[in-house]
Symmetry: C2
């Protein structure tokens, strides 16, 4: 089956997490009015004793049509991706739960000025850069204990094409 791609919006992404963008977000002025603060755009989720990590992921685009074989989740922490090169990318997600149905997979096309924050437990495909090698600022959880589950689909024919 070939999955359809829809534009990323705060509303459509709400079941999975936050869209980090200025568009449609509230701000207040700071620094004598020279700066607009778009405030508190993502919920950083951590279990007790964990800390916030700041990382850069340098992602090479995969080849399309892309055969989707798996998704992963971080059960005890959120994970945010914010593009640093203003290039579009894809986001593949499925709802929280112990199993993932192919029918529940959603593919979003994100603009280069949109970040995403997967809430803890949201199934997602590893980062899907497009066009060129791209850097993303990633905000996630550092701490003891396991925090990554993988789910492999039985169906061999799950495809995304651009």
């Amino acid at each position: 089956m070939k999955l359809s791609i829809e534009p990323l919006t705060k509303e459509s992404f709400a079941p999975y997490g936050d869209v980090i963008e200025t568009s449609g977000s509230d701000f207040f002025p700071i620094n004598n009015g020279s700066t607009q603060r778009f405030h508190d755009l993502a919920e950083v989720q951590l279990d007790a004793g964990a800390r916030t990590l700041v990382n850069i992921f340098r992602a090479t685009p995969l080849s399309y049509p892309l055969n989707i074989r798996m998704v992963e989740r971080h059960p005890v922490g959120s994970q945010a991706f914010v593009p640093l090169n203003n290039r579009p990318y894809l986001v593949a997600v499925a709802p929280r739960g112990d199993v993932v149905s192919v029918d529940d997979l959603k593919i979003f096309s994100a603009r280069g000025d949109q970040g995403v924050n997967y809430h803890a437990g949201t199934w997602h495909h590893p980062v899907l850069a497009l066009e060129a090698v791209s850097d993303f600022l990633v905000i996630d959880r550092g701490g003891e204990g396991p925090n990554c589950d993988e789910f492999f689909f039985d169906e061999p024919e799950i495809w995304i094409d651009l």
Copy 2:
């Protein structure tokens, strides 16, 4: 007096916080080798009961020569700025302490692929965008209680010129 500007490096910025960049940072491969993870690039500092905020600051460049009148600090939380438009900016800092001497002010020129993370208590000037209105991803502290002190210089003639 006119302050001199020096290039931002991890070494020169170490007394004030972290430089968030891939250059000179370690990474490890993830996602079957398609992604490099430059891991744990900044120390996010929070007091007990506080949480991590993710924000976007949209900053209008100030006019140069710039007359520096004040610096501020966040005593109980770090604050990171990561440029989203790949444009250079300036960073003005002074060491932690109850008073700020003009002689201790340092001005760094940051590249568009370098972020900074001010550690709690580091004195700094509000964001100094250059060239055009610029967005920065800002990671700081949300919580109860005051977290911003301002220090105004007695000297009226402190200048930065480009």
